[in-house]
Symmetry: D2
């Protein structure tokens, strides 16, 4: 509670009504961003035009009756965006759509570049101009630049498909940071995941959902080698940030995009290029997925890099129970993302799980809280305790994180107001001590309570009877892997 | 899933910014109705005017910046409305505000009258006209009619407060059906609950929240006798459909309004008139609260008539577990209202509780589903299974009810698609065989699957491996009382 | 400039798509009110329901795509409203729609009652309640009351048509003030004009527009006698505030509704009841049409009571030229309503007419003028001088009226800024010294500059080189009649 | 009637609240485009950021309360856009804002390039990408490209002001077609008019309005030489498409921007570069202003290139009267742009001028006309005849042009329906036989009735008793100059 992800992406290839599917998928990714939404679509013709509709607000507000009908076509990319206050303008809404020498290109990006200032300068040196402050626009223009430099022949991208793919690969190698990209030209869809796989991205089969047929594309190609195409008639795919979006369109999960992988989908099927260094076993060596996807951002029904999110949360809760036992009457989780860990904690500890807290799901961007006092009262509108679960009880409450500590303090107040005799605060992630530079909207170091306070000070500050965080080791054990970015815990970033 | 309540109400007395509190409270009652919202407010002066703002949509959409500022005053009533397709017009939005001979009156109503046609005719016979098709407008006009007939003196209502109260009492005795009312004149707030207490209504103290002082008003007066006023300086109260709304404004729950009780709040404090027959022990004899408030409508953090909603759900689940045992690996609940029963079932049966299903909370009224096929696909966008919870497992799934059966069938499909080996469907309410005439939007008898199909037929229809409903006895046992309307189960209605 | 009318009304009977025609007609009456718009419609069946759609804003904003489609039916009444700041709420938007004992009734009203407080009290005494502060709602409820009192039999109004008409006639006799009404039940349309004919109202034939056939209904019935019905198959009529609205639907003007006349249109055709005293020649004796309809409110393409509006303006200008000669180079008119008089003045005086001033037609309700200074600057955005018409010239400028004098002063500044050597201000109406109580939004007496200042003082105040108003006699001569309300000039009101 | 201009532009320098002034000015230019509106603003600091707000709709709809407050700054460019159906998207709304190597640049463009495809290709060859289909974006990127190529030093544009100006001048020389541009960086405002001066552009002094001081800047510099700066403290200027916008902000007209002139405004004042060939007398030789600005587009209160628009219309009417005499009773003009010519015709011919036709000013983009039949009826809602002006009369009606002929035919019908005995149609521009490639939205040649029909055929088609167009010679005589583009009359375009 207090961290925010930046965006969800989707790409659709080969569907009858790609925009409609993108609309469903984006609705399933809405938890990743509520500030703007957009879909670009092409009818797949080499000479076609890419149409774009985007706007501020929820997917359901941006796309009104008739808007989807105007977006006919079989290839689409879509985007939902989380935005900090400064960037809440239509100019920064995605996907970005640009036309250039050989065609059109639309791009949707989840993540954050660390070298976008340098890249922007390089592009500017040779004359590029930008219509937004977004690093995503930098990626789009870099791809085009690379393609032009390679001598891409006039005509559409697909006319010199190989050169275009080369350009994408070179651009991918040039950008540093976190990025899950869905890119489309008039006739191809490309998905890219950064070399560390910091942001999630996965592939689904839109045919498989119906037939249940096994997809032949579950292995991993050698670096640089194209995987065999499926060879099916009219292959139809979805690329998306989370697997829950594949489910939403009744698709079939195939696999995650690999760190550093470029996936190309066109009328010949699907193929892949691995851009990471060949000497390494790319998955083991370089994967540094953002650990907070499991803790907080992802929907519990998603599976990321083979790890089911909800299972990870159960396990974190279980390990937390082992690491910081407490004698109590009930275990509760802070909705929505603390619930999984609470169930796991309860099972492991034997202390009964109860609901304990209700979150009002109707509080959106338009909620009015005019004065400071009323803003503070808002927490009572947003969260409420279930008295019968808490009154006279010793309560273990599990939250996914403590960032500034303010929400935690109010939460403890709410529990005590409801009659909790003791409040034992447990956190299913280690103390967040460093800001994120890779796509998460964190406050500055000085505002991170774990960066400035000792454990006991924090406990006092939030008013709990006891406080414990899961250990980093415990968390990694829960996830069954070491391949995560842990920059916010120890300041060591993969890039 | 499939039933819909009609409305939530709130009344505020004595607050500095009554509209602001009503706004928070209505946001907490939003689950009871999303079609329209409105707040009427008075500054409490006898000669004052009641101002009204209402509109179509969510509370947060109807009240934009500045709207609340225009609603200055210390007394307010508010309303959120669930509407069937036919009545989705601004004319039926509440509160209703009318001026009449002696002042102004605003009214917010949750419930449904069974004799409104007769009453409307009677009023029409003496010349009343109506600006809506709502039975709530009938109540408002009936009160005024009664007051006029009693010879209320010119000037404002409060000038002849006793007569006005008499008029309200007479009107209350004349109307039949379900009603929880918040009524205001320029200077008083009145709350009324129907003689059977079918719809919930409760009282909170807005001072108590701060001082923590015990309220002296927890007993129940003898019929017709006014309870002593609190005698505090500037008493401040909230009346509302559910106690969760009291929590949202940091108020202190005092007690439920009694069946047949009329509660009057003015500058002298709070007093009460019991309109039910004196010979009966009113609570035991007449109380017929809608049982679905516990099963489905109410928020789990509310307490209705002394029964905590979530605790009731836990117990229903526990009894269901005892009544219809099954050998299984996991128990899951259909969100949001099936979760409580699932937790209870799990605890009682010893089968582990897991989340299992995720509900997309961003699907609102504006969601587009153009074609029939796409409408069917919507269920995949709305609900999704958590694969790790279900794959290869024997699953007990608890839903709160089966109405038409269509949602249940799709739900079973979703669980099987996620790999569930067996699906055992358990329902925490008895079969719904009769439509409701008291405020719930039910389909006709022929559409109620339990009305037209035997248990085994339903099981086949929905595709489950086994199916069981809780018994009516079991449900009443869970609630610890017999005082409920059970018309939808057995066709016996209290009115 | 500075006066405002309150509303335009329309009634349609017998058209295939009555709402569509009402929409066109209201658009043509939009100059009479821009605050709200609404249309009520019935399919003409005795058992039918009246549907209503109304909202705040221009006709084109209130009715979006699809809204008209939902308003199927052959009978309609519509309304556009001018509103003072205080009453800008949806509650006061018209038409008003009420259901009552015997059916439904919708009413649209242009005008203002002087005895609505008494009538409201009388209605309230017998129990009526009101949902708005509008005197128009009083009329609606009074009609219903009269009908009920007459013992109207159960069933729809048409079942006892004669009684209903009697009720309307009695209600019309009871209300005092100005009123042009369009009233509909499920199956009849009634139009009423007040006994003095203060507000305009006229009848058009919707069949005649196509066939060009002469309407048999051009005479006037004796008082109380019903005119013969047309006997045509499917007669189709329009009733409206101004004849320009008849033109807008390609209808054929038949005649004005007479002062005190009640016109009834149903499936049997059209008939009429004259409610004014039989001993008088009603037209000559009682007609007191608002003179400002000719000066300012009405569109120049309308004909009211046989007097073409634009012709009246030409004549006022001509008489003004004779009454207050001046040696000048050009004559200009203040748009829009001063232009007619300017053309007339120019022709009579021989001084050339030029355009001189342009009015920005895009300045609507949403125009932002944040600060006072900017508000003053707004006049430069709203009105601008045409330099070539004015520079170095002696200019006669004709405005229709001077109310507060502030606009006139700014206007003179604008002309001088454009180089006018002399500015001779001429006003095509006499000095406005008294507020209007009959439907015009005038400031209080103390704000009327002609009420507090002598002619020479006003001239100085507005900065003109000379100033003259038309004489009342001159104005009446221009109109060729004495039958006008002149309350705002001399304080003598017809009621 | 039937032609449409594409856009109005404004630039503000040195005002306290530049966005507020741009808002007023755009409102005054609203007749030039109603599809989208936008304002970009900078606080004038070299390191500042340019903020942008744009949207679809009228100026008053795009800028709501608070929007202007967020656009603080002293330099602004603004734009209103007319759009053909295909391009009605937010992507094409102006101003365009791009950041690049050395800063930010915003651009607003009225006109149309004929070589934008080639320029776009050239830019694309070196890697440019485009976010819209607009030729205006091409200009913006070309300027940036030129600047980069010239070796502009890092830092903001102003750091190497001279180079930047050189880049603008080179870009201006490279683009062909019609263009009136307002360009801003963080600290300078630049105005450019194409070498033929096809679209109008003029300069106003915002200080002069207050002080009334004479501007020293009324002469014209030698080519390439910078005019002396004003040397005043805080000079404040407005650049805009039409002089009426200068009046709207109470500014003082200085002069028109010359064909091929680049005007630069910064903290040092105002200076100018003439890009046209030095050997020619640039004004006489190259000026080819669009003649339809005088006939139709411009507001009558504007003065373009020294010719007052309304005076030009009077004269066209007068010459038309001389060229095509007719014996008639009244002269009328089709609003709004035909009125000037009608007044001139009347004066010259001695036939009285009357209003004759009223145009409904409330018909905007949202007007609903569902079916084809209703669409045809719309003309009756849009235009109406004034019966008293026409009935039994021989009527001369002046329109500014005949394009397809459909509107003219309906107009004649309207006049005849109102009783006109004879209708003599006169047109204040020569027959339009060729489409425009320079910024006017004309139908294709085959749809231009004068391109496919002889005069007598057209007369029959529109149903007039006689028909005459002004001669091209007559028109030029009226304008007192030969310096106009006459491509639409004779197919000879300046570029």
């Amino acid at each position: 509670m207090g961290l925010h992800d930046e965006c969800g992406v989707v790409g659709i290839y080969g569907a009858l009504s790609a925009a409609q599917l993108a609309y469903y998928a984006l609705t399933s990714l809405q938890h990743r961003g509520q500030e703007s939404a957009g879909i670009a679509v092409s009818d797949g013709g080499v000479d076609g035009k890419i149409k774009l509709h985007k706007g501020m607000g929820l997917v359901g507000d941006v796309f009104k009756n008739g808007d989807l009908d105007k977006l006919e076509g079989s290839i689409a990319v879509g985007h939902v965006r989380y935005a900090t206050a400064g960037g809440r303008t239509i100019e920064n809404a995605q996907p970005f759509l640009n036309t250039y020498k050989f065609g059109s290109i639309a791009l949707a990006h989840n993540g954050q570049l660390v070298n976008h200032t340098e890249l922007r300068s390089l592009l500017e040196d040779s004359g590029s101009t930008f219509s937004s402050s977004s690093d995503s626009e930098v990626i789009l223009k870099l791809i085009v630049r690379k393609y032009i430099e390679k001598g891409g022949k006039p005509g559409h991208a697909s006319h010199d498909m190989n050169l275009f793919i080369e350009a994408v690969v070179e651009a991918v190698k040039a950008i540093k940071g976190s990025f899950a990209l869905c890119i489309m030209t008039q006739d191809i869809l490309i998905a890219v995941r950064d070399p560390n796989g910091i942001r999630p991205l996965c592939i689904g089969n839109l045919n498989g959902g119906v037939t249940g047929a096994e997809s032949p594309f579950e292995g991993v190609a050698e670096k640089g080698e194209a995987l065999c195409s499926e060879g099916e008639t009219s292959p139809s795919y979805i690329i998306t940030s989370e697997s829950c979006a594949i489910d939403s369109v009744n698709g079939k999960f195939i696999r995650d995009v690999l760190p550093g992988e470029v996936v190309i989908i066109d009328k010949n099927g699907i193929r892949s290029i691995l851009t990471n260094d060949s000497s390494s076993n790319c998955e083991a060596a370089s994967k540094r997925t953002c650990i907070f996807e499991y803790v907080y951002f992802a929907r519990p029904d998603s599976v990321i890099d083979g790890i089911p999110v909800q299972e990870a949360r159960y396990k974190m809760g279980a390990i937390l129970a082992r690491e910081s036992k407490v004698d109590a009457d009930v275990v509760i989780g802070v909705p929505d993302s603390g619930i999984g860990a609470a169930i796991g904690y309860a099972k492991e500890s034997g202390i009964p799980y109860v609901t304990g807290i209700v979150k009002n799901k109707y509080i959106g961007r338009t909620f009015i809280a005019p004065t400071q006092k009323e803003r503070e009262n808002m927490v009572f509108v947003k969260l409420n305790a279930i008295g019968c679960d808490l009154c006279g009880k010793r309560v273990v409450v599990i939250d996914d994180s403590i960032v500034r500590g303010t929400t935690s303090r109010r939460l403890v107040q709410i529990l005590r107001r409801a009659g909790a005799k003791e409040v034992h605060f447990r956190v299913s992630s280690p103390p967040v001590k460093f800001p994120c530079y890779l796509g998460i909207d964190t406050p500055s170091k000085s505002e991170l309570i774990s960066s400035t306070h000792e454990l006991e000070e924090i406990r006092k500050e939030i008013g709990a009877d006891s406080l414990a965080f899961i250990s980093l080791e415990g968390m990694l054990k829960a996830l069954g892997s070491n391949s995560f970015c842990r920059g916010c815990f120890n300041g060591e970033y993969p890039v």
